[in-house]
Amino acid sequence: MTPVMGEYIRPEAVAWAAFILVTALTFVGALIAVLPRNIIYNVFGLATCILGVAGLFIFLGSEFLAMMEILIYIGAISIAIVFAIMLSQPMHVQIPPAWRPKLYLSFAVSAVVFVAFSIIVLRTPWEVALERGQDWTVRRLGELFLTRYELLFELISLALLVAIIGAIITAAALGGGRKSEGGS
């Protein structure tokens, strides 16, 4: 970037624009993930939202996390969801519109939660820690994984293992070959 450009486009402005962009991505993505009745749009909405969140993570100082966010959510979870959709329901079948009161009630209660928690967040005098470390490196994360969070690390691998075995058993075996025409 030339200095000239810099005079017109100040870094703060860029940052602002970027921030607004990621925020918008997040919200719009979230709404798309929730509102349309077509399930495949929702997945795209989720992906969009994840991108926005990843952007926010960058703003919050952790590029590593942003990367992981995209990797895991878009690379793994969204893809898995898409597969599941393809395995489960024909995409062209339109789901009938929702029962209205349910919609309103859901909205109302979510809104109440939002209002209540916003006020709580505003009322809380969040205090900054007295001493603050500045080590944002990935190396530090790695260290922590092997020391302080060693148990956690082991645990989550165990959890993932259990999840995978479980998913295999559940998805591959359950219902397969057995009576399957039940249900209402």
Partner: protein, 474 residues
């Protein structure tokens, strides 16, 4: 390191068992009997390890993991619960044969998760351990063969579970924000700084919701009836016994963080406690499926436990500990009968118990005692548990809460009596053959009866142990 291993003994045994079961699950064809015998043997080792580790104290993994009497008490409880549940898995008719090693495996990992959970004193560890145990259960529930309801139950369980865990995480994030730490010890140490911050208290409350889910307390109880009914009988037994104990342990640890200084927290917990008791008992009255009824009763019992916990006094915590032990014993006894009577692994209507007193007098007796115990009739352990819990609440001045609790106990008697009536009075429509009760089962029955009465009349040792345990939670 040897000392560390000793500290980690129960968990190590559990891990070992999980590995062994994993190995057993690999071959295509298994001898079911052999697998069960192995499992039983291993779980016995685990119980031994739990006993050996009972009085260990120390801390592991950079203070994230704390071994003290409190956690070891619950670990022993968990090991015993696992052993008991496995002991009624000999005829695992509710689960397809080729998945039985996995079935045992998931039971074990679930237990492992809970064992880690009761010792975890760091929020993230706690959370992940909780999830580990939850995952195992999510998978165990739909493992039942036969009906469709198992998967439906699994899905409902899962969704309520992950919602609760989301809420819990959200709450943890607020705690983290307010206290800047995820270590319970630090949180407790800076209590005066954060306890009056709305965010922190709400955070704590939301965090508790994950445990209330485990405990099946209102309003996170909705899974309980469906899962109890939908899951295989043995799985239900496990959920009803072991997982409750772990939830109580964590609930105590987390509630203790506030040291009873937040009236708001107290109010909310009291409301949930009353709602749990009342809703559970009322809804249980109209059930016809035995397991479903017991599920609602477990909601009510969650309320009783909460009553002990919400006092946030030593007596309250120790009484809640005692109650969880009591609950485990009596609930197991009830479910054991369910498993034995529903020998085909099917669901059991209350009316199916008709004529039980002639088909299997011993089982009927155990059932009656277990139900009276659940209803809180002395001299059973259930009464002593309730008494202690109520005493704790009264000590804290919650007279009305105790009154409501007692009224609820009376209400609950109604539906327990309905079951007893079915077992002792009703005559089956057609002739039913006598149930074969094997020697070990007989011994198990005697042991359970003895335990229910003994602990009811002589609570002293356990109570003192519990009091010693809660003296120093952090």
């Amino acid at each position: 390191m040897a000392g560390d291993l000793l500290l980690f003994l129960p968990e190590a045994a559990c891990l070992l068992m999980a590995l062994a079961l994993f190995g057993l699950s690999l071959p295509r064809v298994q001898d079911q009997r052999r697998v069960h015998s192995w499992t039983m043997g291993l779980s016995l080792v685990m119980v031994a390890a739990g006993l050996a580790g009972l009085f260990q104290e120390g801390s592991l993994f950079f203070e994230a993991y704390r071994v003290d009497l409190f956690s070891q008490f619950f670990k022993l409880l968990l090991a015993v619960a696992l052993f008991l549940v496995l002991s009624i898995c000999r005829q695992l008719t509710g689960v397809e044969e080729r998945y039985q090693p996995e079935f045992f495996l998931f039971l074990t990992t679930c237990t492992l998760g809970m064992m880690l959970m009761v010792s975890a004193v760091e929020l993230m560890t706690l959370y992940v351990a909780l999830e580990l145990s939850s995952f195992s259960l999510y998978i165990l529930v739909p493992l039942r063969s036969g009906d469709n309801i198992d998967v439906e139950a699994g899905v409902k369980y899962l969704f309520i579970g992950i919602t609760a865990s989301c809420v819990m995480l959200f709450g943890m994030s607020y705690i983290f924000g307010a206290v800047h730490s995820t270590y319970l010890a630090k949180i407790a140490a800076t209590l005066p700084l954060w306890i009056h911050q709305p965010g922190a208290v709400i955070g704590l409350l939301l965090t508790l919701s994950g445990l209330l889910f485990k405990l099946a307390a209102f309003p996170f109880h909705f899974w309980a009836p469906d899962v109890y009914q939908g899951a295989a009988n043995q799985v239900t037994t496990y959920i009803a016994t072991a997982s409750k104990a772990a939830a109580v342990a964590l609930l105590i640890r987390l509630t203790a963080l506030s040291a009873g200084t937040s009236l708001y927290l107290l109010d909310v917990l009291m409301a949930l406690c009353v709602a749990s008791m009342t809703l559970g008992n009322l809804a249980a009255m109209v059930q016809s499926d035995l397991k479903r009824m017991l599920a609602y009763s477990s909601v009510a019992h969650a309320g009783y436990v909460l009553m002990g916990v919400l006092t946030m006094t030593r007596l309250g915590y120790s009484s809640a500990m005692f109650y969880s032990l009591a609950y485990m014993v009596m609930n197991f006894a009830a479910f054991m009968v369910v498993v034995k009577v529903a020998s085909g692994g099917q669901d059991l209507k209350i009316s199916d118990l008709a004529g039980l007193h002639r088909r299997a007098p011993l089982l009927a007796l155990t059932l009656m005692l277990a139900l009276f115990s659940l209803a809180g009739i002395p001299p059973t352990v259930g009464f002593t548990g309730k008494f202690l819990v109520f005493a704790a609440a009264m000590q804290d001045g919650h007279f009305w809460l105790v009154l409501v609790g007692m009224i609820n106990a009376t209400l609950s008697l109604y539906y327990y009596l309905m079951v007893i009536k079915a077992a002792y009075l009703a005559e089956p429509a057609g002739p039913r053959e006598a149930l074969a009760v094997s020697g070990p089962t007989r011994a198990l029955n005697y042991a359970l009866i003895a335990a229910m009465v003994y602990l009811g009349l002589f609570p002293r040792q356990v109570l003192e142990l519990a009091e010693q345990a809660v003296r120093n939670i952090f």
